[in-house]
Amino acid sequence: MSCKPMKKDESVPLAQHRRTFFTQAAAGVSLMALAPGVRLVELAMANSEDSLPSNDKRWGLLVDTAKCESGCDECVSACNSEHGLSGHGRPETDAQWIRKVDLKDEQTGHELSIPILCQHCEDPPCVDVCPTGASFRRADGIVLVDKHICIGCRYCMMACPFQARSFIHEDLTGQKTHSPRGKGIVESCTLCVHRIDEDQEPACVEACREAGHDALVFGDLEDAAGPLASLSRKTATRELRPDLKLNTGVRYTSF
């Protein structure tokens, strides 16, 4: 059983992954000289030529299932309105970037209610199968579709173990400026990349906190002092389908 967040190579601690090891180690030395909370390089307000997404960061999400309430769908509504997702009353095919799933342990009767969304896998099957390179993983770990080159073949939908992707069947109008979407293209949770680029948290995380549940913790898994990495270090967390060794950026705790 895996009870703490591990990278693919289980002997390597969280913050010391691959190429980031040396940069992290070097940054660690200089950070010690500064006061707590003061960083040599502050997060930029928006990305620019000088501050591109890099693998020094890995954005992720931790879901505290103990705080997630059955019947609450604040995260889902927030996602829908942030990205302008609206359905045709056909749940089988309507776009769905995040959904609430209720689970029950038949042995004990224990019940759980959890949000399922794109898990932002480190080794994403959706990227492996994409014939055009449209499905890709940004340097900071966010898995996206470059909709300009997606041909709508839907291989990625078949490959994703979490049914996290949706295909748009109808012409759309009234899209949001920050979230272009259209017919014939596959889409999924972007972790609100447009907000992250402006130094804000995803819409679902904000909505969950505003609803008083605070079940979603967003942050940088590589930032050992940040909220996500420090919580993940202290608490037993797990990924869905750990057998697939996807090393997901979205993890769950308290179950």
């Binding site: 928006a46 591109l52 890709f136 759309l172 400026t177 979407r181 447009h194 402006e198």
Partner: protein, 129 residues
């Protein structure tokens, strides 16, 4: 003498068409029998690049910017499509923004004239936020 064979590649043909269009649009008055489109110009005194350059190369700028945004998260820079719409969207009688790809509006007018089908607005917002 044998006639010279002129071998135009696809790119240079496209360039030639763009050049002709630029000439037609910029010298509309001089060429008396050519009808040029009436394009609603939008707000602001100056585009992000000189008009001749925008007429010829706007799609190159937008295409470059799209990759910067999708892969590097660089948003709101001067060649962003959202920026085009912010400036060039006109308002209707009720003060509401008119879709930039509607008939008679900025993008559509010129592309109709040039017989170019634009695909941007299958996905992208057509009015400012």
């Amino acid at each position: 003498m044998r006639p010279k064979v002129i071998n135009l590649e696809r790119n240079s043909i496209a360039g030639l068409i763009a050049l002709c269009l630029t000439l037609l649009l910029s010298t509309g008055d001089a060429v008396a029998d050519v009808v040029t489109p009436e394009v609603p110009m939008g707000r602001g005194a100056q585009c992000v690049e000189p008009i001749e350059i925008m007429r010829r190369d706007h799609f190159e700028f937008i295409k470059h910017q799209r990759d910067q945004t999708v892969y590097h998260g660089i948003r709101g820079s001067k060649h962003s499509l959202a920026g085009c719409i912010d400036c060039h969207a006109s308002k209707g009688t009720e003060g509401e923004f008119l879709p930039i790809n509607a008939e008679g509006q900025f993008c559509q007018t010129c592309h109709t004239y040039a017989a170019v089908k634009i695909d941007c607005f299958t996905c992208h917002a057509t009015v400012p936020d």
